[in-house]
């Protein structure tokens, strides 16, 4: 499903003096339907790695293969299409549109391209997903009327609307309280199991890491397997 081969990422050092390596030769393979959590201290490059996997960022060197195709070879437009069709994102900040209802927020990814599936079908799926995340009775609410956990659930539903094969979650519980974090973690695990979505989560929350399959640790730009919890 996803394979990273010798991926590196460097940034220019402040003042222009040389470069700083964030990812140093990351090689990783995640099979379809599997789940993985990437842990590591703050600033170690977890988000960068996730962004590279999701096509939001490009590696300095190395290859990122999604279903065998190298993302590094794709144009920005192609990457956008791939993200829209194959990848779902959940961010620490939910980035919901305050001007739209819960249902509309979930439907936002379906507007990325002209045409596509029928509105009836996508509406039904959005409602299903919102029911799945426990928000069936909040369809016409605005983000401002929801709690933090509810908002994040909407974001999860939004990530799944286009039936992605890969769900990337970057600190999805980072700004939530413990109870809410737990419920989100359960939701992600369930989705992984029930819907066969490949799940990669970047987090430094131990409890969340403990609920998800394989644990990889990123430290010093190098990824190492910590096995299963």
């Amino acid at each position: 499903m996803v394979e990273l081969i010798d991926v590196t990422k460097t940034y220019g050092a402040p003042g222009g003096a040389g470069t700083v390596g964030v990812l140093k030769g990351i090689t990783l393979k995640v099979e379809s339907g599997r789940s993985m959590v990437i842990v590591g201290p703050s600033g170690c490059g977890k988000s960068t790695l996730l962004n590279i996997i999701g096509g939001l960022d490009r590696p300095t060197s190395g290859r990122v293969l999604l279903d065998g195709g190298n993302l590094a070879d794709r144009s920005d437009d192609e990457l956008a299409r791939i993200r829209n069709r194959h990848i779902g994102f959940v961010f620490q900040l939910h980035h919901l549109l305050p001007q739209c209802t819960v249902l509309e927020n979930v439907l936002i990814p379906t507007l990325a391209e002209r045409g596509g599936r029928s509105p009836r079908e996508t509406h039904a799926r959005a409602k299903d997903l919102l029911a799945r995340v426990g928000l069936a009775d909040r369809l016409s609410y605005r983000p401002g009327e929801l709690s933090g956990g509810q908002r994040q659930r909407v974001a999860v539903a939004r990530a799944l609307i286009n039936r992605p094969q890969l769900l990337l979650a970057d600190e999805p519980t980072g700004s939530l309280d413990e109870g809410t974090s737990r419920s989100i973690a359960e939701l992600l695990v369930e989705l992984n199991k029930d819907q066969g979505v490949t799940l990669i989560v970047a987090t430094h929350a131990r409890e969340l890491a403990g609920r998800i399959g394989q644990v990889m640790e990123l430290s010093g730009g190098v990824l190492s397997d910590r096995g299963r919890p």
Binding site: G12, L56, E104, I108, L111, A112
Partner: protein, 1108 residues
Amino acid sequence: MSLGRLVARSLRFYWRTNLAVLLAVVVATGVLTGALAVGDSVRYTLGRTLEARLGKVQFASLPQGRFFRTALAGDLEKQLGGTVAPVLQVSGIVTNDDGSRRINRVQVLGVTDRFYAVGPGGRPLGKDPTEGIILSEAVARRLGVGVGDEIVLRVEKPGLMPREVPLASDKDRTVAARLKVQAIADDAAFGRFDLQANQIAALNVFVPLSWLGERIEQPGRANMLVVAHLKTSFSTREMAAALQKAWRLADAGLELEHLPKQNVLELRSRRVFIDEPLAAEALRAGGGSAGVLTYFVNEVRLGDKATPYSMVAALDGANLADDEIAVNQWLADDLGAKVGDAVDLAYFVIGPERKLREDQGRFKIARVVPLDDPVCDRTLMPAFPGLADVNNCRDWKPGIPVDLDKIRPEDEEYWNEHRGTPKAFISLAAGQARWRNQYGSLTAVRYPWREGLDRQIEQHLLSTIDPATVGLFLQPIRDRGLQASRGGTDFGSLFLGLSMFLIAAAVILTGLLFVFGVENRRSQAGMLMAVGWPARRVRRLLLAEGGLVALFGTVLGVGAGLLYTRLMVYGLATWWSGAIGGTDVHFDARGLTLLLGGLGGLLAALLAIWLTLRRQATCPARPLLAGDAAASLGDIVKAEGPGNGLPRRRLRPGRFGIGIAVAAFVGVAAVLLIAPARGGEALAGAFFGAGALLLIGTLALTGAVLQIVAGSWDRPMTSLQGLGLRSAGRRSGRSLAIAGLLACGVFMVVAVGANRRDPTKETHGRDSGTGGFALYGDASIPILSELGTAPGRDRLGLTEQGLESIRAVQFRVREGDDASCLNLNRAQQPRLMGVRAEALKERGAFKFTATVRQGREEGWGLLQTDLGAGVIPAVGDYPTVFWGLGKNIGDELEYTDEMGRPFRVRIVGMLASSVLQGSLVIAEDEFLARFPSVDGYRVFLIDVPAEKADAATQTLTADLRDYGLLLTPTGERLAAFGSVENTYLSIFMVLGGLGLVLGSMGLGLVVLRNMLERRGELAMLRAVGFGRGRLRRMVFYEHWGLLLAGLACGVISAMVAVMPALQSPGAQVPYLSLATMVGGIALSGAVWVWLAGTLALQGRLLDALRHE
């Protein structure tokens, strides 16, 4: 959910931001549309005025100092079809019943009902318009009279021949009558009739043509034809051909008479002298023709014996040598002369500038003829007015000084018995050599009589003489009027040009407000891109939102534009009426103008939105999502560095801005070098071109400096000011926008302020706009004498004490379009004034700012330059030449003289703004050569000691009231012209003020926004120990730097851009008030910054705003 719905939701959710953008678009579109519609309104007004003053008139023959049969109108009508109306137009003075109100320079029009048929209403007034007097509304208003009131009308009484011709009587110059006002003529009743292109209502009074003809002793005659209702279009040439077929000899003032006793057919002129071209043709018209020139001589002297005041005839075929004379027996007896004696003739001739000069000639008596010889023919004396029509020679009133005491009883006896029978005869050549003048060299042509000869001669003359030579030619008045109204001051462009910066300010504000909205939603954009929206689709979404706001704003803006136009029109009618001479501007807005204004506003708004979006939405999704909503694109670019898929900087920071600045400065230099060589609109173009380029250049430079400061991370800043500067550089685009807004407003205010002038200052010097003269005089009836000389004053009966010290420079006037700044039309043929150039030259009057021969001190002497046949030199003042005519030194204007011959007037010199505004000045002799029928002087520049000016004004006004002499202090006249310019400037200052309001608003907005975005940064600074006051100061330094940059850009651009105007004559830059104004702007800006900073630093307010 659809894209449209998402857009709708967003529009509603972010309504505050959208409302702000919408208002900015409304302002931009409103000002743009309004400016264009002001142009429509003025054009419409000029068009309406054209209809009101010309009615249906298409062609007209203008008064040329000659009179023709009123029946010519009917004869011409037969040739042309349509309607031809005869008009008798003279100048007049009108006073109300008790004499408390008086109007000089009234146009008195003798009309028939045909005249009203060619008017705009196509109908006469309710009552019979051929009885009583009808006043135009303008006259009635100024006199304060209504229907049924009595008024006193004094009209000019033109002579049969020009009043200044020797022997033309200058008595009975005017005639007065008390009349009852029968009606007030509004526009529909042709009350504004005027053949001159001017939007200011003419002062007209209408009387029956027959009545006026009787009163001024021109019965059955007219001096103007107006042609209307032509079925087909006629060219000027076709009109001339029709006139050629219709005219009769009487229309040229000629008459043929069979004198049975002499057995000759005589051709003579009502004007005494037969015009040269007519005389030449008349001599060719029949076999045996003989020219006659009979002249009035002051004295025939032989030794100590003299005979006063006699007629002497110069005859063709007199069989006399040029130095020989034949005397009649009576004269021979009176002088005791015999054949072989030499007699001296003394006579007046016209010297330069039509001054009478007594000349003498010596002749040897070749023979003495008895009184019963056929040659002693009393019909040889032409009908000299004041001579031919009196019984007693003591009643003579010739137009020359006659000492009646010299007339002896025997002279009276001769007159009683023989009347004007010539007492002596010389050869025609000798007579013409002495007495030829510009009005002719023959007083009659005689042909040996035979039956049918009169018809033959008449036919020959009518077919061979061009009626134009006697002033009969039809001019395409309507076409010329249209040309004048279309070519006139384009208020649309004027308002648009000077609103441009206001519009730009509104557009910048649109972009600024829009980008704030977009920046608020950066993470949204990032999320959309993260979920697979291509960047351009995100852009389209935001563009669609912005576009809808812009579209709605445009629609509202067009409505606002109409209100703006109404406000401007109201302003022009009230506060700024001085700018257009009190003309009523009527509101008008064309559909196309509204469409263009709306489209312009929409495009400008869309462009601003697109440019800001393009910049914002080129940022990739990940940084947008990074959560730092406050981070600017610049921050991200710097943080990410190269190789990260972001737009790469190819140039070092600031290089691009410096490049633009250099290019702009080169452009400015080029424009300013070229501009002074051109005039009028080219200069105005230079103003805007140079201004715009400089603004671009200085702002680009400011942007470059900001970028350089922002990029110089290796140099740590060590002060609060440095921190402020660094902060300003962080958002260089936004900072630049705000500096640009302020620069626009300041540019406007300074540029306009620099054009202001105070014409009333320095009015005493010879090189000032008054020419050093104390009074400007304008007479309704031409004055023939010189006001500045004792004999001249004596002739006018001015004998009061206190007038000895006055000196005057007098101008002959050929009426034409007013080319002053009071006329909104483009003057086609401005008024010409003839002056004796030496009179001005020896006084060094007025200041020449440009001449055809730069650097050579020739001044008024240029009027005597020989420019070749058909071209005469002229001088005008700067506002007349540049603005009134749109001309420059060396340019020419086409004119037609009173004989229909075209000639060109070349502008050889330009004066600083002066009391001569509105006219072109030419040399008097050139004037007389072109307009010999124009009598006397109508404009006077009078030198009188300041302490005697009031007394002189009172005396002259009272004593010359029959001439309608209006005396104005020159300073007052200059101030009146100056107030026009200054009123324009006031209008534009208002627009500049609006620009500044927008600029200040923008500044306040940017301060607030910046502070809100950097709340975290400010909180951190507070945490590390910054006091609230210190933070406020930091904010102040940052934004005050922007304010200063804006002010500097605006001031520098304006000062350089108005350089051509500064070099123009009379420019008096009020540096102190400008400095005060700019200081005021700086202060108000500082207050805005302080206020906005203080507000922004208040926590609760901050929170509230952040969520919007």
